[in-house]
Symmetry: C2
Subunit: 344 residues, 2 copies
C-alpha cells in the first residue's frame, strides 16, 4: 500500500472514531485520531472524551506508547495549541516524538487554532486537507458551524406526507412516517446536544423527546429537552419527566434561543417542531440543515410542517440544495443545506 492510501485508510478510521464521539463532547469537537508507527502500522487510536477528559490525540498517543516515536498522527481536526481544561495536543504530539501530523480540517477558532504552526515550529511536519470534505459534511459539521459563527448548528427534522401535511385534519399524526424513519430519528437525537420544540407541540402531542434504542430502551446519551415559547405546559407533560433534563425558555426568538443553548454548551441542535417555530427559524436564516422524512401518503388536509417563514411571493422563497436522497423504509429521506449565493 502506498503512503497516500495508508493515510486515507487511517483517516477513515479517524472519521469513524470522530462520529462515535458525537453527542458526548460538546462544546468540544468530536475528534478522532489514529497513530501510525514508523512503518505505517496502526499503533493507537482514540476519540475525544467528555469535557474535562483527554482529547483524541492524547488517547491515541497513550494507546501507542513508545511506538509513536518517529510515527505519524492522522487526526480529523488540526490539533489544538492552547491550554484549556487539558494541555495542548500539539505539545503532546511533539513530546511523543511524532514525525508528521496529517489532519483533515483546520481549526477555525482564534483560541485553539495554530496547532499546525506550533508543530512546524517544533520540527514536526503538519499538513491539512486529507478527506476534508468528508469530515466537514460529517462528524465535525455542527462543531465547525459553531466555531465559525458562535451559534449552535440547527437541523430541522420533520416528517410529512407527499402532499406536505405534518398531521391529519383532526391533528393525529401517529404515524405518518415508517418505523425505519422513526428509528433513525431516535439515533439522530442520541447524537444531538438539544432538541427544541414549542409549547404548542408539547400541548398537542405530549412528546417524550427522549432518544430510544430500537429495543425501546432509553439511549445512553439524552439530549437536553428545550421547550420554547410563552404557552403553558401541562404539569403532567412527558417532557417534564426524569429521563432527561428539560429547559423552558420563555421566548421564540431564534437568536435568543440559540444564544441560551450555546451558553449551556450545546453545539448540535435538533429542531423538531411545530410549524410556527420552524417558520420563525427559517425566516431568521437559522436552519442549517433540513432532514425530511417524506411518507408516501396523501392527506389533503391538516397542518403543514412549516408555518409563516416571512415569504410572500415566489422570488422570496428560501432556496436549498439537496445533499442526499435515500429511501428510509417506505419513506423518502431528504437531507438539504442552504443553497449558496448564485446557486439558487
Amino acid at each position: 500500500m502506498n503512503e497516500r492510501a495508508r493515510l486515507e485508510r487511517a483517516m477513515r478510521t479517524a472519521i469513524a472514531l470522530s462520529e462515535s464521539a458525537r453527542g458526548w463532547t460538546s462544546p468540544n469537537p468530536p475528534v478522532g485520531a489514529v497513530i501510525l508507527d514508523e512503518k505505517g502500522v496502526v499503533a493507537g487510536q482514540g476519540a475525544t472524551q467528555p469535557p474535562g477528559g483527554p482529547h483524541a490525540e492524547v488517547v491515541a498517543l497513550r494507546h501507542a506508547g513508545l511506538r509513536a516515536l518517529g510515527g505519524t498522527a492522522v487526526v480529523t481536526l488540526e490539533p489544538c495549541a492552547h491550554h484549556g481544561r487539558t494541555p495542548p495536543c500539539a505539545d503532546a504530539l511533539v513530546a511523543a516524538g511524532v514525525r508528521a501530523v496529517h489532519y483533515a480540517v483546520a481549526d477555525p477558532g482564534p483560541v485553539a487554532g495554530g496547532g499546525a504552526k506550533a508543530l512546524h515550529a517544533a520540527g514536526v511536519e503538519a499538513e491539512g486537507g486529507l478527506l476534508a470534505g468528508e469530515v466537514e459534511a460529517g462528524p465535525l459539521r455542527a462543531w465547525l458551524h459553531y466555531a465559525r459563527t458562535g451559534r449552535p448548528h440547527v437541523t430541522w427534522k420533520y416528517a410529512a406526507t407527499l402532499d406536505g401535511r405534518a398531521a391529519a385534519a383532526d391533528g393525529t399524526s401517529r404515524w405518518i412516517s415508517c418505523p425505519e424513519s422513526r428509528t433513525e430519528v431516535h439515533a439522530v437525537r442520541a447524537k444531538a446536544d438539544a432538541i427544541v420544540v414549542g409549547t404548542g407541540t408539547v400541548r398537542a402531542d405530549d412528546p417524550a423527546l427522549t432518544a430510544r434504542t430500537p429495543g425501546g430502551h432509553q439511549a445512553d446519551h439524552q439530549p437536553l429537552r428545550v421547550v420554547v415559547g410563552t404557552g403553558t405546559v401541562p404539569d403532567g407533560a412527558r417532557v417534564l419527566d426524569a429521563v432527561a433534563p428539560t429547559a423552558m425558555l420563555r421566548t421564540r426568538d431564534p437568536d435568543v434561543v440559540l444564544a441560551e443553548l450555546a451558553e449551556r454548551g450545546a453545539v448540535d441542535v435538533l429542531l423538531e417542531g411545530g410549524p410556527r417555530l420552524a417558520g420563525g427559524f427559517a425566516a431568521a436564516g437559522r436552519i442549517d440543515r433540513i432532514l425530511a422524512f417524506v411518507a408516501p401518503a396523501l392527506l389533503g388536509a391538516g397542518p403543514t410542517a412549516l408555518g409563516d417563514a416571512g415569504v410572500s411571493t415566489i422570488t422570496e422563497a428560501h432556496r436549498w440544495a439537496v445533499e442526499g436522497v435515500t429511501m428510509s423504509g417506505k419513506d423518502v429521506r431528504i437531507s438539504a443545506v442552504p443553497a449558496r449565493a448564485g446557486e439558487e
Copy 2:
C-alpha cells in the same frame, strides 16, 4: 450468445420501440416487435402505427420479409387474435412462417386476447412472461390499466416545495421547479393522450398546457387539453388557442370525466391541477400514479398541491408505495403507485 440472452436483448429493443410509440396509438396499445431470423439475427422491427395503421408485428414482418420464415417474433404484448380495423396479428405471424413467438405480457382484453391460443393451434410455439415486469411498469402500463379496468390511467403530476406548497402566498408559482423538471413535464405531456385541469387553474395560471420541446417548439404530438368544472374560462385563455384541441367538461366527477375521456379514445391521462381537482380524484381512488417534483425550497405559506381528499384522521390516509426516487436537476423526483392491500 445463448438463446435466453438473445431473446432478452430482442425484448429490450421491442420495449424501446414500444416506448417510442407511446402517445400515438390510443386506444390501441403501443407495442414493439422484433423478428429474429432462423439463426437468431434481427431481421425486422416495428412499433404500433396510429389507429387504422398496421400493428407492430405486421410492421416488423414486412421489414423482415422472407427472413421471418422459421424465425422468432419477440413482442411486448401477446399478439391479437381478432379482426379490428386490421386483421389479426396471430394470423400474420403464422402466415409468415414464424416458428416461435415470445411476448412479455398477456393481453387481458376479452376481445383481442387469445393470440397465444391461436398460435398454438397453428403449431407455433408461443410463450409469455419475458421481461414482463419491465413492460408492465413501462410502455404498456397505462394501456394495461385501461384494458383491465375500462378507465384511462391517471398520472397526477405536481410540483411543490419541500414544505408542500404549490405556490407562494400571493399565488405566484413560476418557477417552483427547476428547468430540468419542467423539460421532463413537457416530455411526459408529449406521450399523454389528455391533460386535465380545473377551471380554477385556467383562471389562476392561464397555462398553455401544450407539450413543448427543450428548444421551445411545439412537440409533434399534442395531448387533448381538458378543462373540467363549472367555473368560467376567460375568452382569451391560452388553452383555447389553436395549438391543440381542447375539451370543456362541465363536471368535476372523476368517473364522469374518465368515462368521457375513454369515449374519446384517451388511455393515458395526465392530471395537472389544481388542488381541489386532485383531491377529488384522490378521494375517489382515481389516481393511478403520482409523479412529484419536490423543489428544495421553503415557502411557509401558500396553497398546497392537494386539497380535500376525504381524509379526516391519520388512519384514513391514502397510502402509496414509492417506485422510484431520482434527482431531476436540483429537484427530487418521486414516482409512486398505490400501496397494495397489506403493504400499507
